[in-house]
Amino acid sequence: MTYIAGDNFRKLVFDDEFLLCVWRSIKYAFTTLFFEFVLGFLLALSLRKSFPFRPFFRIIHTLPLVVAPIVVGAIFKLFTVSGFGPLPHFLKEWFGYKFNYGRDAEQAFWLIVGVDIWHWTPFVTLTLLAGLSALPKDPYESAKIDGANPIQIFFHITLPMMVPVLLVVVFIRLMDSLKAVDEIWMLTSGGPGVETRLAGIHIWRSVFESRFYGYGSAMSIFLLYITIVICWFLYVIMTSKQNQFHDK
């Protein structure tokens, strides 16, 4: 073992392969965040007032949250594998669309995005619903008396009051998708080629398959720094004095 000072970090900055993996991770994190957020917020709003079978739908909606990521990977592997998977079959039969994530990089990316949306939208929904039901009632009543319409109420009352909860959800989801490994490894193993190889998978593989211990550690620290920065934002929001939702 020789001392090489910052060489591993110098290499890291110019390592296209690794930077591409980080870029993929960021793209993946923000794409999934966008869809989960919009969908989850709409669903949370729709769950506020009761309708037939609401508790039942809520339980079904919670189900993906307790299923292990690795099992989610297996479920969708069986669902989308070419040969007998229903998804490629029906896409071809109904729309004439050829779906084979083992070949097409674009499809593989949208598949892992779709799986993440399936898995984690319930988290966004339930968290935002909890936030929504903790909001005080008074502003709504005074807004109604003043003759505000539902859209105005949403943008001027609901949204501003929800900001702390929204930020908590955003940061937790960002951190979770930046460290995502299990389901993607199970589903695509980073393929086709290296097209769905995210930062977490890349580090894991280069340490335990290629045995680049030193360089792997450098990459780990880089990923850790990104996470700590996001984590710090989350911490500041969660402990800030104004917000009501944190139980002190």
Partner: protein, 282 residues
């Protein structure tokens, strides 16, 4: 009138969503009950498992193979971890809730980073610690159940503490003082007052810890090799084998999902608190 229309619309949308949630899971259960020949061709969604089940999918991994050992490992690791986490969390939370600690804000940030840190960043140091540093003669933590049980405390304990904190804070301090007046110690306070008062919360913390430990894959895959492999690592073994036996993979997946299916109605009210470290209450 419009009100009822909205209700109907919501019902329809949520029915579709529930179908989207259930169909992939249902398909896995179907695959696990069918023979390889029955799988190919047009996907058949009819519930054929009422008529006949192709038991070989289950027998092959669980009776002939090593998956029953994996299953036992998983049960031992998850259960011991849940017990350990609950016991430690009760004591830690009691301390955090009753005394003003010097750096309790920093302790909060620290516990949160433990849970949020990407496991990929810690794999290598953990691997070296487990195989080289924490050792006595040729006994080390690598590939042992004890290693996994201790390791899972790192990310289950923060969550359990922050779930219990709110509950413990709600138990009046007068009760503590009454016990101290009558000559009881802190142990009596915890066993006679705190635990009975916070029993539902403690049960939820234990249950969620159990599920998180059961579900964990990446660390288990890296820090075990033969003797302490858990069921998620077993499931992942199907990826690398060529000519995957889809039926057995579905069967193993189904078995590793069973606890989730059993506990879902118990945890569904508290999962939000669990996943946001109690920042948002469900």
């Amino acid at each position: 009138m419009t009100n009822n229309l909205i209700k109907l619309l919501k019902f329809i949308i949520w029915s579709v969503l529930s179908l989207i949630t259930i169909i992939p899971i249902y398909w896995m259960i179907l695959v696990s009950t069918r023979s390889p020949v029955e799988l190919f061709g047009k996907p058949d969604f009819s519930p054929t498992f009422f008529e006949k089940i192709y038991w070989k999918n289950f027998i092959k991994p669980f009776v002939d193979g090593v998956y029953s050992e994996y299953l036992l490992n998983s049960i031992i690791v998850a259960s011991c971890n849940a017990i350990l986490v609950t016991a430690l969390a009760i004591m830690a939370t009691y301390a955090l809730s009753r005394w003003k600690l010097a750096a309790s804000e920093n302790i909060f940030f620290w516990t949160m980073t433990n849970r949020m840190a990407p496991p990929a960043a810690f794999l290598l140091p953990l691997f070296l610690l487990f195989s080289l540093v924490f050792r006595y003669d040729d006994i080390n933590l690598f590939d042992t159940k004890i290693g996994l049980i201790l390791l899972y405390c790192v990310f289950n304990l923060p969550f359990a503490i922050w779930l219990l904190k709110g509950i413990f804070d709600g138990i009046p301090k007068d009760l503590d003082e009454a016990v101290l007046m009558d000559g009881g110690g802190y142990f009596t306070i915890i066993t006679r007052i705190i635990i009975p008062q916070a029993a539902p919360g403690i049960a939820i913390a234990a249950l969620l810890s159990w599920i998180f430990a059961w579900n964990e894959y990446l660390l288990a895959a890296t820090l075990t090799s033969v003797y302490a492999r858990t069921i998620p690592t077993g499931l992942a073994e199907f990826v690398t084998t060529t000519g995957t036996n889809w039926g057995s993979m579905a069967a193993v997946g189904f078995v590793s999902m069973l606890p989730a299916l059993v506990f879902i109605s118990l945890v569904q009210k508290h999962i939000v608190a669990g996943l946001t470290f109690g920042a948002v209450k469900g």
